[in-house]
């Protein structure tokens, strides 16, 4: 067994950036400017995890991914595994070992540790870690200003490793600083100084010091400290306490651009550091939440490969500024609306079950006789009328083009008009899809689109997922 670490990585940051001024309540004297990433109305931790996971797996043999760990504090179900859903949407094989790692902002590093253990133990050839959060904060609260929504994916394996994980330290702590019970709609927290000083700083400093002691290293041996912080300011004291230079040796925490993205936050910062690093760099990666984790990560020559995928920089460049707070409340279902989109009985579980290859994994069909590709599943070919003679094909990572569209103002979208399209997927299958992350003005016939896994509706109070199309965006980064 060689070195174990990150083979590929990708990030996902939703396109919309809500200006902090729109939320209000900021300290203007301290420059209450900036923005935070917000999930669109059809996004949640699952859809963002799928987006990051899909980009991370592009060109990777899915048959060699034997485990999937999903880290999130805001996954919508109490009971029902997120990792199994994400594995289906990512089209992983049937025997993939799946687990949700939840309930703490530390879940991201805990999931990476589990993945490292599985690969090192030889129970998985490769393990995918997806961390995603869209944590619910009370409207116009300081938490809402601090939070951001994002996802990260790391493929952990032992071949062509770009970033190797070395020593690690973990501490567990019992503290009521930040929490959300089964009955709380929003994240709650205790008094800020207690949260920062007794919870965050004390634990993360202790873990970092223990790691430095264990490795015999000092701050000077690292390129940067890449660490979780509950807010923009608190990292400075931590860096100072463990000997890192606050100006040059601390990874940018992206406040004012993304925000604290919970379980995905420490992974997002590591992904950002790695995609801009070179061979032979060393990072001290630290995380907090009901205890602390600290790990040493060093880069190999393969690190240059990491930046080719859609990562943090790509997503920072792909953004749409947004300052309509009322619409944001509507996206998050925080605004009373006479058209509650969570009503009704919901979809049939049996229909969902039998259609999961087409709805979740986005498979189409290719006729073995005439080669015509089609969607959804057909028993009889549209073209040559052959019966039951099809190969299942993956559509999710292909591109498509707009054959037809309309803008439906009547369909009860939280952000009207609903952009409805018929898409020809490369290869010929036609799919009737909503377009997301787009405005009516930019929709053109024949424009290229890619596919993104989203919540399509919430009837019955459950998120119902399917794919949408979104314009292909050529982002220079």
């Amino acid at each position: 067994m060689g070195d174990v670490g990150i083979r590929s990585q990708a990030a996902y940051i939703p396109m919309l950036r809500l200006s902090l001024a729109a939320i209000g309540g900021g300290r203007k004297a301290r420059g209450g400017s900036g923005e935070r990433a917000i999930a669109y109305f059809d996004e949640d931790a699952v859809t963002m995890a799928v987006a990051a996971g899909a980009a991370c797996l592009e060109g990777v043999d899915r048959g060699e991914v034997d485990a999937l760990y999903f880290a999130s504090t805001s996954y919508p179900y109490r009971e029902k595994q997120g990792a199994a859903l994400i594995a289906k949407a990512l089209d992983l094989h049937r025997e993939v070992a799946t687990a949700d790692v939840s309930d703490s902002t530390r879940a991201g590093t805990v999931a990476v540790r589990a993945a490292l253990d599985a690969v090192r133990a030889g129970t998985a050839r490769n393990a995918l870690v997806v961390a995603a959060d869209a944590r619910p904060a009370p409207p116009r609260s300081p938490l809402e200003r601090n939070f951001g929504d994002a996802a990260v994916a790391f493929l952990i394996g032992s071949e062509n490793v770009a970033a190797v994980f070395d020593e690690q330290v973990s501490l567990a702590e019992e503290i009521i600083d930040v929490w959300r019970t089964e009955w709380d709609r929003f994240v709650r927290s205790w008094e800020e100084r207690f949260v920062v000083e007794r919870g965050y700083a004390e634990n993360i400093i202790e873990a970092i010091r223990a790691l430095l002691k264990k490795t015999g290293a000092s701050a000077a041996d690292f390129t940067k400290l890449v660490a979780y912080t509950p807010d923009a300011r608190s990292i400075a004291a931590v860096a100072r306490a463990v000997g890192f230079d606050g100006k040059t040796q601390v990874q940018d925490t992206l406040f004012g651009r993304v925000g604290n993205c919970g379980a995905a936050f420490a992974p997002l910062l590591l992904a950002a550091a790695l995609e801009q690093s070179r061979e032979g760099e060393r990072f001290l990666w630290a995380n907090y939440g009901d205890g602390a984790d600290a790990m040493v990560v060093h880069t190999t020559p393969a690190v240059a490969q990491l930046a080719r995928r859609r990562g943090v920089q790509w997503h920072l460049a792909r953004k749409r500024e947004f300052s309509d707070y009322e619409r944001y409340l509507n996206f998050r279902n925080l605004y009373p609306d006479d058209n509650d989109r969570r009503g009704g009985q919901g979809v049939s579980a049996t229909v969902h079950y039998r259609d999961r290859n087409e709805d979740i994994a986005f498979h189409g069909f290719r006729c073995r006789r005439c080669g015509t590709e089609q969607f959804p599943f057909q028993r009889v070919c549209f073209q040559c009328f052959a019966r039951d003679d099809f190969d299942e094909i993956r559509l999710a990572d292909r591109l498509g083009k707009v054959m037809s569209f309309t803008f439906d103002y009547f369909a009860g979208s939280p952000d009207p008009p609903l952009i409805v399209t018929t898409i020809e997927v490369d290869g010929g299958a036609r799919v009737y899809l909503q377009m997301t992350d787009a405005t009516a003005q930019e929709v053109k016939l024949d424009m290229p689109v890619e596919f993104t896994f989203r919540k399509i509706h919430e009837y019955g109070g459950t998120p119902n997922y399917f794919w949408k199309c979104t314009p292909v965006r050529n982002i220079a980064w």
């Binding site: 009704g344 979809v347 049939s348 229909v351 969902h352 259609d355 087409e358 709805d359 015509t372 590709e373 089609q374 969607f375 959804p376 549209f382 073209q383 054959m403 037809s404 569209f405 309309t406 803008f407 439906d408 103002y409 009547f410 369909a411 009860g412 979208s413 008009p417 609903l418 409805v420 018929t422 010929g428 299958a429 036609r430 799919v431 009737y432 899809l433 909503q434 009516a440 016939l445 399509i456 509706h457 009837y459 119902n464 997922y465 399917f466």
Partner: protein, 385 residues
């Protein structure tokens, strides 16, 4: 298939139609009684209990089903059946009535198309979300899917569509049983709020309640009812693939109309529909549907509809008047009733009883329905003997 199996074998000898509208004070049974008794009177039927041997019904939102019709008219002890075929439901009910008479089993049957969508408590068709994959989509959204591609290919625009709405609103002012009797302008249409691009409010037909009835008999018996009976020359239903999934669809036409028209013209022996059809009622659920239908029925070359619209070809005084009673735009669209309501207008036109809407010298008339996403089409051709 024998295309001449039913040609001119069945006659319409009586028709009735209730006033279409938001009939808050009427039950479906009330509308059915109104339409049926008008048809009885029109046919000179004095004893429907003896003379009506079978009933064929069409309704998409029935509250009870066949019993609604049987109970309303007290027509028991005989077959009462119901069919559903999206917006072609009324036309398909007629088709079964025609078969029942043409095969010789019954002498005289009744066809009842009705629907009461305004009892469902929604102002328009509901946004249906049935499945996991189901978009919260509306009929306007479905029927709009040809617009972008058609506009780009043939240079048509919302203004061309608006002229169709203006025409149908005008014709509707002349029809006693229409729901909306109000002239509008192209400007009104273009300024209205968008429902689903390119359709604004006036590009869409309304929801309404309605019922219409036809009484059919064997041609040989028709004279015993009246001299100015109308013959059914062709009835066709055809389905097409879901345009949202069809890998070969070009978004310039609606395939079901083309299929049903081909079949109906073959049954009727029509080679040049633009010349041989004198008046037509077509499915103007949305203005673009009527525009595409001009071409899909062969009334105009593909891509030439806007020239014909500009030239007034399909106006009341044009070469081939379309939707002389104002169409779905003026009557609304109680789904099961619409096909029979169209037949009612064609029947009056051929008899010369269409009043201010009368088309001169019309002896061959066509009616057309298109429904689903759209996936089904019904076409009926009627003539004077």
């Amino acid at each position: 298939m024998n295309p001449e199996a039913i040609r001119d074998k069945v006659a319409i000898v009586g028709m009735g139609c209730c006033k279409f509208g938001e009939n808050w004070d009427q039950a479906p049974e009330d509308m059915i009684v109104e339409a049926a008794f008008e048809a009885y009177e029109d046919a000179g039927i004095e004893d429907p209990q003896k003379q009506i041997e079978a009933v064929f019904c069409g309704a998409v939102y029935p509250s009870k089903g066949t019993a609604e019709v049987a109970d309303a008219l007290k027509l028991f002890g005989r077959p009462v059946s119901m069919v559903q075929n999206y917006c072609a439901t009324g036309t398909d009910a007629l088709r079964y009535g025609v078969f029942a008479v043409a095969c010789g089993m019954y002498d005289t049957v009744m066809v009842v198309g009705f629907d009461k969508p305004k009892d469902r408590g929604v102002s328009g068709p509901s946004a249906v979300t049935a499945g996991v994959r189901g978009l919260p989509m509306t009929p306007a959204g479905w029927f709009a899917l040809c617009a972008a591609r058609y506009f780009e290919t043939y240079g048509a625009s919302r203004e061309d569509l608006a002229k169709i709405a203006v025409k149908n609103h005008h014709n509707g002012t002349l029809a006693p049983k229409s729901m909306i009797k109000r002239e509008i302008t192209v400007e009104d249409v273009l300024q209205a709020p968008i429902i689903s691009w390119p359709f604004g409010l006036y590009d869409c037909c309304a929801q309404s309640d309605g019922a219409a009835v036809a009484i059919l008999t064997r041609r040989e018996l028709a004279k015993s009812f009246r001299n100015d009976y109308v013959l059914i020359r062709a009835v066709s239903i055809a389905l097409g693939p879901n345009p949202q999934a069809d890998p070969s669809f070009d978004f310039l036409r609606w395939k079901p109309t083309i299929y049903a028209a081909q079949d109906a013209y073959r049954q009727a022996g029509i080679a040049n529909p633009a010349k041989e059809i004198h008046v037509a009622q077509v499915h103007d659920c949305f203005t673009l549907t009527e525009l595409l239908t001009y071409e899909d029925l062969g009334f105009a070359e593909k891509g030439s509809a806007k020239e014909h619209i500009a030239a007034g070809t399909f106006q009341l005084n044009g070469e081939l008047p379309v939707n002389t009673d104002g169409g779905l735009k003026s009557f609304g669209h109680p789904t099961g009733a619409t096909g029979i309501r169209m037949l009612y207008e064609n029947y009056k036109q051929l008899q010369g009883k269409a009043g201010p809407r009368q088309v001169k010298n019309a002896t061959v008339a066509l009616s057309h329905n298109l429904g689903g996403a759209p996936q089904t089409c019904g076409v009926v051709i009627v003539t004077m003997p």
